[in-house]
């Protein structure tokens, strides 16, 4: 940890958002749907950060937004990670033609940009929390699968795999004891980076009006709603953006830190 100030900063930034999100489950200044506060009240007094154009308390909305951002981010990483690692393992172990087929399918899935795929899922279903997680997780799974496949192929070419197989270890045991332990550090770094991208994707979806609907406050939607009143009530147009940057920078710094821990030979200046 020492001599890694950026990693520590990253942990602190992520921790702050996590604490706010968890805190929103226990306590909120106001009900998220409470519009009794008066419209566009400036910060201070009863409303620490003021209210939005519907009279909802901004601090409350931001706290709920932290929860939604993390739910979608973590949810889609879990979904995309599970699908991706399973698909990547399958392709990595598969015989030639199945591997070719899976790789081609992955290349095409990756050619579908995350946001377009997400918009497609939302168009096919409806704008909801589940759609956002499904859409972003699905888009992510292709990238994770391709990485997993490459990592698995690299490990399988090693002599210790041959040694394990000759000494009678079954394939499931080889996967559990040799393959996964060798590939997880790199996977973890990639999944952390994907978490940041997922948070940004959710924000973009919500900004476009295709994210989780109210009462799920989303930072992206808060920004969209505050756009019209940016001159009279600037806090609403700035605070959600700052929180988004804090979370994503934090996640990226943590990912960089993981990478340095996983590979001590890597130059820190990268």
């Amino acid at each position: 940890m020492r001599g890694r100030p950026t990693f520590v900063i990253g942990c602190v930034l992520v921790a702050v958002v996590f604490v706010v999100a968890l805190g929103s489950l226990i306590w909120l200044p106001y009900d998220p749907a409470d519009t009794s506060g008066g419209r566009l009240v400036p910060p201070g007094g009863a409303h620490l950060l003021g209210t939005d154009k519907l009279g909802r308390d901004l601090l409350t909305q931001l706290m709920v937004g932290a929860r939604i951002a993390l739910t979608v981010g973590v949810g889609s990483v879990l979904l995309g990670g599970a699908l991706g690692v399973a698909g990547g393992l399958l392709a990595g172990f598969a015989t030639r033609w199945l591997d070719d087929l899976l790789s081609a399918a992955l290349d095409i899935l990756i050619a579908f940009p995350t946001l377009l795929l997400a918009m497609l899922v939302v168009a096919a279903r409806e704008a909801s929390l589940g759609s956002a997680v499904l859409a972003i997780g699905l888009a992510m799974s292709g990238i994770v699968a391709r990485l997993t496949r490459v990592l698995v192929k690299r490990v399988l070419a090693q002599d210790y795999i041959t040694a394990a197989r000759t000494s009678g270890a079954s394939w499931p045991r080889v996967v559990a004891e040799h393959v996964l332990p060798n590939i997880w550090p790199t996977l973890l770094v990639n999944l952390a980076l994907q978490l940041g991208l997922a948070v940004l994707a959710e924000a973009a979806l919500s900004y476009l009006g295709l994210g989780p609907p109210p009462p799920n406050a989303s930072w992206g939607r808060l920004l969209q709603e505050a756009q019209a009143t940016v001159l009279t009530a600037p806090t609403g147009a700035i605070a959600p953006g700052v929180l988004l940057v804090v979370l994503v920078v934090g996640v990226n710094l943590v990912a960089d830190g993981f990478r340095d821990l996983a590979d001590p030979t890597r130059r820190r200046s990268r």
């Binding site: 050619a111 579908f112 899922v121 168009a123 992206g220 920004l223 920078v249 200046s269």
Partner: protein, 321 residues
Amino acid sequence: MARYLLRRTAFLLGSLLLAASLLFVLLRLLPGDPANALLTVGATPEQVAAARRQIGSDLPLPEQFGAWLAGLARLDLGTSFVSRLPVGPEIAERLVVTVPLTLLSFALAVVIALPVGFLAAWRSDRWYGPLLNGVSQLGIAVPVFWIGMLLVTVFALRLRVLPAGGFPREDWADPGRALTSLVLPVVTIALVMSASLIRYVRSATLDVLGSDYLRTARALGASFAGAMWRHGLRNAAVPVVSILGIELATTFLGAVVVESVFTLPGLGTMLVEGIAEHDYPVIQGVLVVSTFAVLVIGFAADLGQRLMDPRLRAHVGGGRS
């Protein structure tokens, strides 16, 4: 090279076909009938049947799929449920905004990223090297639409020097006005795109600066600029060019979101409107054109890389990497 070209073209065609199928399947697997978009609440069964006949959703799925592919082959993307106009020409009209927006943003991003990325690597021991690096780290974490909002606030609402949004009705008839309305969107996308590009340029430059061949060239008496021009540039260019294709595709997607910020009548706003109105032909049409564009850009980038890198050129018809 010819064999590689053949393989890569076959792969491109296969991808296009698969992408079109995937779009069809995903949009058809959903519960509910696309015909519902045409109907009001409480429609009679006869009206439902008529609507289904009108858009062809009463046919068996394989037939619908066949009609969809046949339409694509004729560049016929169907008719919008809402406006009753053909989707193809509408997309072409929207591309008049989206394509210049994408290309201008991409060009500006490259113009920003090349010198800044080089400087961040070359002067990594001065105070501004790490600073530039930190700024690019921040840049990849900022939502593109938020940058747009902030730029509108400052330059359109406060300083009133540029329009806050919209696009001239007569398109490019008055190029000056059209360009003016693209300034803020282009700067918005370019700022965000250059952040990630800077990181690639910096990394490629660092590799070159630490290389033995550069040191040898210098030891043989070449000036720094001369050695960089003759040896550094062509080596650093390879990884950067390979990433440019992906970045161009990403720029195009940035445009999809940023158009909404600036209410530009482009492909992105067309897609968002289509989703809001459950206008399936529009959604399908825009997504198919966008995905094709991304696939074709990837194809071009791969070819460009092959042509540039003699190591890959020699490796004729080599395996997938």
